[in-house]
Structure formats: structure tokens, C-alpha cells
Symmetry: C2
Subunit: 567 residues, 2 copies
Amino acid sequence: MKFLRVDMSAQTVKFEEPGEAYKLYGGRGLIAKILTEEVDPACDPLGPQNKLIICTGLLAGTSAPTSGRLSVGGKSPLTGTIKEANAGGTAGWMMSRLGLRAIIVENAAPGKCFILKVGSGTAQLLPGEAYAGLNNYELVARLQQAFGEKIGVISIGGAGERGYRNSTVQITNTEGYPSRAAARGGLGAVMGSKGLKAIVLEPGAAPVVTYHDREKFNSAVKSYVQGIKAHPVSGEAMPALGTAVLINIVNAMGALPTRNFSSGSFEGAEAISGERLAQLQAERGGKNGHACQPGCPIGCSNIYKDEKGEYLTSGFEYETIALNGANCGIASLDAIARIDRLCDDFGLDTMETGTTIAVCMEAGRIPFGDEKGVMALLQEMSDGTEFGKVLGQGTAATGKYLGVQRIPTVKGQSIAAYDPRALKGTGVTYATSPMGADHTCGNSILEQNVAPTQKEGQVEVSTNLQVGMATFDSLGLCIFSGFCTADPANIGHLVDMLASRFGGAWDVNKLFSIGIDTLAMEKKFNAAAGFSKTDNRLPRFMLTEPLPPSNSVFDIPDEELDKAIPF
Amino acid sequence: MKFLRVDMSAQTVKFEEPGEAYKLYGGRGLIAKILTEEVDPACDPLGPQNKLIICTGLLAGTSAPTSGRLSVGGKSPLTGTIKEANAGGTAGWMMSRLGLRAIIVENAAPGKCFILKVGSGTAQLLPGEAYAGLNNYELVARLQQAFGEKIGVISIGGAGERGYRNSTVQITNTEGYPSRAAARGGLGAVMGSKGLKAIVLEPGAAPVVTYHDREKFNSAVKSYVQGIKAHPVSGEAMPALGTAVLINIVNAMGALPTRNFSSGSFEGAEAISGERLAQLQAERGGKNGHACQPGCPIGCSNIYKDEKGEYLTSGFEYETIALNGANCGIASLDAIARIDRLCDDFGLDTMETGTTIAVCMEAGRIPFGDEKGVMALLQEMSDGTEFGKVLGQGTAATGKYLGVQRIPTVKGQSIAAYDPRALKGTGVTYATSPMGADHTCGNSILEQNVAPTQKEGQVEVSTNLQVGMATFDSLGLCIFSGFCTADPANIGHLVDMLASRFGGAWDVNKLFSIGIDTLAMEKKFNAAAGFSKTDNRLPRFMLTEPLPPSNSVFDIPDEELDKAIPF
């Protein structure tokens, strides 16, 4: 698996055979290694010193289930921290078929617009002026016209081009729609700052992956897939209802962010639930149980059709629905799906967008529940009005601009769709993750032994989850494929996959040392970028303002938070 | 000397006799003490938890020269750090005559508008709706109509009411003009967030100050005044040319910020020099050598008249001229004076405003040198347009919004009018001061023994200056009265003043322990607010981009910076 280095200043490309030192680094871990070794942590995230790294995980190219996740990383213009965001879709799988582990985009061609076309052993920077300013859906359609239907596309819309700090890198899914997003942290703006509009991946041959013991690998994969399918969430709930199954569950816990995190329970939850979504799409000919990447045994994604039965969006997820629905007081799935489509098209993080809009609602710019007002704000972002550009800076900047005191962010990134007062393990993760408030860094929603509002034990819960997630993000596996690792036997199958893929002595400690090592590098980068433990705090209002209906506050002391991920 | 506590939520006032523990705290030191004891460092600076503290220094009410400085403090909405900004004018002197050491404004009446009227032993919160939205000049004129010509006024203009993070607290001068500013750090917005529009100080009797040994005090004052007058800067240059004398001097050093800190030398320096200013005002009947507060032996201020001989502004200082002149490429004193007047009137920090405008120029919003464009941007702030509100957030927020990479700020506050690449001692102060990039915390411009661009020795120079300035800011003395302390005999006179005012054993160590103690409290507050040594850094571009004409870079290593003010 090669590295492709792209110098945007010189407009040159170079394939590299990474040395033995990189052999056991993939995904999030590889990003942390390259950034700590090659990028000044104090650099301007939108300046030429930053690097945009797009890479696959350690198990990419194999038959390991969900192993096609694509990691995108760099210094985040939203948080100022190190950042890895990963996504499903086909690009990770396609990169493996082109023999690539990583594309490393260096320097910058500001104000220019290039398309990077990558084939088997070939790469070219093509003039992209004709595509400048296009949003993702039209961009991908035109690229498919120009380069064929079977390409994979990694691209930015207008938001990334405008330098919006809440902009995404979008990735095409199995249907060729740009609906999967490396969403968090504004990495679309990093890509935009480089002058790179899109990466076009040509269809490659089968990936050439070497195995220490292929038979043992296949056997471990088979067992692991059985584990995924046997788990009630990854085997039943998610294939049936998608991630939106969580709406009713999290609402019942009292942790569903509602009207800018002022309640944990939304009276309109039923109308935006996974159950309602499944029913609606069954009526309209949409699809649940859709796999976003080839070979996924879970299929938590969907194809969402509108009132007329026309395709509206896909990859329509719990976080998007919760934060643009309940958190904005909007109880209409169609309204939220239109927001999702606009976000994917323009290239906005749906989560950051939902919390930003809710902060505008709190400030009285538009009322809670005002769907038309939301569309008008999105239009302002798209038009690049002065206020639209403020919105494009994300929730923290918008809240500060509007003088809002209840701003739900950590390190400048918005909190995900689980109120930490009612799910404290996730709250510890929000506070202490090197990435800002990121649920995918360690979400305690399925924790069985420590009650969600219990004060004690959450730091340990979060730490274990953060190690696990950093490991999965480095393997390149979807974190949903990891629910089954609550059963140690399934961890054993993972260990077997690594041993039979790479050889050498592997055990559970070596497996999770991948995550520990990754977190340690990330923390080192952040410390050099100016972060300290005092940045690892939730917004103050969550420490004092009780969250209805549980009336819980986040009461884990700072000294306890400081004990999380002690690597 | 009493404390007056004003509860803006309950709209009550209370006089307090501060205990013995507060006896030796005044000005900046008193602010640090009250904030560290009473305010949560993690609070929202514009929320009700913050306190606005307005107080006099330890030598207030005495005949010590320049002892009427007024300190204004709180947690800064611009930097998030502790903040003290002090100003001349008559208010400090008047507070002493009302027997007041401090006015402490607590809680908040958001959206309301009150006037606090203070007399001898009396204080009232009066409805101020009739004054809401007025800028400082009209506000003061109306307050003088209502309460008499002899009042002192501490007030905010529209900027503070709008919550602008670059807004000032303005203070009337000896002529009754609101042209003195506690300018830095956005304390006007803190006052605005409380619902307090102005404090009206009635003329009081002579201050009742007790002395341990009055005769010795008078004698020390006499000697110290001789010291001030004998010093070439405070005794000659400043009375003759005001602080603007520095334009030609700093330009000749190559440290005059020019076109957003891209050069240290401005071809139009002569046209905006102190010499030119003095000549112009002599022609027009303006005034140099004006004292901003009663009894000042220096008189570095001025009254600036326009082309028609009409009053335009006063307190028209070097920093304002350099940052709105050279740094914006504007070579017209009249144009800069109009900017100054607008800033005083609306209540904007002229320094933060000048650097913000220069960043807009760098981004291409308006060209360098475009006076009309500057007025239009100021009008946008005044009108509260969307972009105007971005500008009101200060240089760092505006630069980030515009995607500018060369942003001259530290801890979110703009660098003053000495480029740190050509004046490295001041650079160390910018980086390490608890207040953000603040020249008044320790400016090495008069340093004789360490050359300005020398790499070695600057940390010690800055540390000594920072201790000295924190001491002067706590005594309530103008820092210009301290140039003469280069002569140890004059330090002795200061020590004598403190000993004969307060009694007890005083020596030079005890004198400067005031500054050391103050800095230590400030650092403690900041640490709890989330700051660490990695925040003590200059903008990266100053480390790598040579500054013409010396082509010097700021090359003091981080490890050296970390040794500054080690208390």
C-alpha cells in the first residue's frame, strides 16, 4: 500500500513506498503519526503548512467487515486541534483497489481549483476551473459524465471552497451519491485552502493485500461477522431502523438534545423516530438497511425519498435528525431531510449546522421550530452573506457573535446528539477527547454496568471507549462493527485478523495499544498547539443548569476529568 | 476609602468598609484580588457572574503626581483573561474626593439601562432609558445638563451597549470631554452587559486621606516631581510633543507597524509625527502639553482642532496615530483624528480598531490608505450591520472571519504600536503578559542596556518592566511618571511616599512586591480560566517573516519566554 504525495504549490504528484515504520499505522493512527512528524502544530489550519491526509485503515482491502472506512485528517480550522473524521462510502474500498494507503495533500494553490485523478499507479492534477463553485451533487454528476459512472469521488462543495470551518469532505456511496461525509472539524475548508476541489478515483483491480495466513484471516472474519450479526443492535435494530433507532431510545433516557440543549426530551420525538422513518420510506419506496460501503453486514444507512417518491437524500442519520430536529424544535422528517440534503450538497457538517441554527434560535434570530427560517439561514451560508459567513464559522463563533451564553461546544466543536448531563460517560469523552466534543471518540450509550447519570466510574468508561474507538478508527473499521466486542471472543477474532494479516505476536494488549498510541500522539500534537487540561471542560451551563426531565447536571469534577486517557 | 457594591439584578447599592486585608491593595492589584476571590475564572465575561470593578490606586487622593489614574477591570470578553485597563481623566481624582476606593458592579440587568449617581456617601441607580443608545459625547453633554457641569462621568457608548468585544469605558477629562479611555479588552461590553450606561460622580469635598507622616510624604512628592521634570522624556519631550513624539523615534528604529505589520518604517511618518501635530495645532489654536488629570506635571495630552479651528478630539495619542495611521497606510493626521473622535464617541479601543481595519485591508475589503473606506467600516460598526458586528469582535475574530493568516494578536488582543521583531523586550511582554498583547504591561522602548533587536536578555528586561508596571498600575500612578525611576533615588522617593502614607517598614523590595503579587494573582486567574504557557506566544508569522528595514524576526525561543514573570 503506497502513499501518494500531492504538492499543490508545485502541482506535482509522487508515489512513495512507506517504510517499515509505517507498516502498522492506518486510519486515525496514521494521520496522527504523519501530523506529529510533519506538521507544525502551531500552524494556521488554512495555511500552506497544514496537510490534508486521506487514508485507509490497517484492515483496508481485506474482507474484514466494514473495513472500507476512509479517514480524513489535518489540523482542524474549527478546533485548532488535531482532527480525524472518517466516513463510509466507496472511496476507502476504491483506494485499496488502487494500492493506496494514503493521499497526502501538501502546500497550497490558493484561489485555484484542481481535480486530482488517481488510477492504478497513476495520478494527475487536472485543471478544475470548470467545476469551481459547484456543490457536491452536481459536481459528482459532472465528474461521472467526464470520467465514468464507476469512479469514486472525494470532494468539497461551496462551503469548503468558501473556507467555512464547519465544512465537510464528502464521499460517494455505493449508489454514487455524495452523501457520506468526513464531517467534523472543517476539513473541507482545509481541502479548499489547498485549491483541491475533488479527488476522482478510477475503478481499480482487486486489492493486492498480502497475508501472513490467509486461511486463518478468512476464518476470523467469518466468526467476527457472525458476532456482528448476533448483536441485537448491529444485527437487528440498525439493519431494521438505521441509526435513527436511537431517537426514541435517547428521548426515553432524557438525553435527546432539545431546543439548544434546554431539555432532554422532545414532544415531537415520535414524528422523527427511526420507526416513523422506516414506515414513511416503506410507503414511498425509499430504502432502509442500505449498506454505505461494499460488503457491510450491518447496513444502517438508507435512501430517503420525498413526498413525491423522488430521491431526496441518503445516509440520513440519527445525529442529523436529532440536532436539526429536536434540538431546533422541528418535528418533521421531511424538513430535516431537506436540511440534510442541502448540507451534503453544499458540504456542511449536519451536526455543527444543527447546533449553530439552534444557537441562532436561542438568540431570537429565528424561532424554534421555524423550518423556513432554517432554510433561509442555510441559504445565507450558501450565498456567502456576511451573516452566512459567520454561520460558516460554526456554533462557537456564531454563539459568541450573537452574545449567546449557552453555547454547547468543547474546544470550539459542537456537542453531539447526546446531552452529557444525562449520559455522563459520553460527556467525559466530549470534554477530554483530543478532537473536541465528538461522540464517535467514545460514546457510552450502550454501557451496561455504569448507569448513564451515575457520577462515579464514567472516566474509566470513557477512557476504555476512547481507546477502543481510536483503535477501530485506525483499523479502518466502522465503529458499529465494534458493538459485538463486548464479548471477548469477538475481540479475539479481531486479534486473529491482525495476526494473520501482518504476522507477529498479537494479543488484546497489542490490539488496543494501537488506540493508546494514537491518543498519545494526538495529545502531544494538541499540547504543542497550545491546549492544556483546562481546555478539557464542558460548557459551564451544563455544570449548573439541570436538564429536564431528569434534572441531572454534569457533576464529574475537573480533577476526575483530568484522569481520563492518561497516556 | 470605601467600596461601593452595586447589584444590578436587585438594583441595590451598598457601601462597605473594606477590611484591613485590603489596605495595601489598589488599582490593578485590587482588581486582581477581588477577581481571584470573588469571580469564577471560567465564567462568561458577558454573563452575570463577571464583575466590573472600577477603582483607584494606593496613592489616590494624595498629592502624589499623576495619582488619579482610574483602573477598570473584570474578565475580558476579548481575551478571556483577567483584565485591567486604566485611564487618566478626572474620575479617579473625583472618586477619592467621594471617599471611594472602588465601585464593584455585580450581577446584571440585561437589556435595561441605568445611570449610577454617586455623591458623598450616597449612591443611586437611576432609570437611564432616556440615555440608551447615545454615544459618549452627547451622553456626557446631556448628563452635564441634568447633573451639572462639574460632574465626572464614566460611561459607555453604543459599542459597549452592543456588546462589542473591542469596546471601551470612557472617562471625562479636565475639560469634561469623554476622551480618556480604559480601552483594552472590551470592558465597555462588560459594563453594557450589566445594564449600566454611565456612572455620574458628583463633585466631592477634599479627599480625607490619613497619613502616617504627612510632612515626609509632601517632601517625597516634591522630590519625585523634580525627578519627573528632570527626565528628558517626561520633563521635556512629552510636554512639548505628547506621546506622538514616538512616531519619528519608533519609525527610525524600524518598529513602526506599517500596513498590517508588514514593515517597520512608514514613508508617511513625518506627516503624522508629533512634530507635525504640534505645528498644526499651534496654527489652529489647539493645545499640546495638556494635562488629562488634575495636578499632572507632565501634560502629555492635547486638544486637537480641525481645519476650521473647531474642537475635534483630545487625548490623541501615539498608539492611535500609529495603528490607524501607518498601520493602515494613512498619512493624514486629520483623518486619524476623525477616527479617534469616532472611536471615543462610539466607545471603541482605537488600537484594536486600527489593527482590525488593517486586517480588513490585508484581506482586500478596502485598500490600504483608504480613509473613506475606514469611515465606512466604522459606520458599519456603529450601524450594527452584520459585518460591523464582526468588526466589533476585534482583530482576531475579524481576521479569522476573513481568512487572514497574518493576524497580529496574542490571546485575542491586538499587538500595540511597536513591532516586536524590532523591539523584542516589548515582544516578550506581548507574549507573556497576563493581559494579552499590551504594551503598557512592560514596554522596553526606553531600555538603555539591551539593544532592541538583541536576542539575549529581553526576558529579564520584560520581567522587570512587567513588575514595575504592575506596581505603578496598583499605585494608581501614570506609567509615564515612572520613567525617572531609572534613577534609584526616585524609587526611594516612591518608597518614602508609601511609608509615610501607610506606615510600616517599606523598602524597594516591598514596593515591587506589589507588582509581583499582582502578576501572581493574575496568572492564577488565567490558569483557572484555561490558559497555559502555550498561549504565551506571538503570532507565528512574526517568527519567520523578516520585518523591513531591519529584516529582524522574533527569535526568542519558547523555552526562554516560559521563564518570564516566574511568580
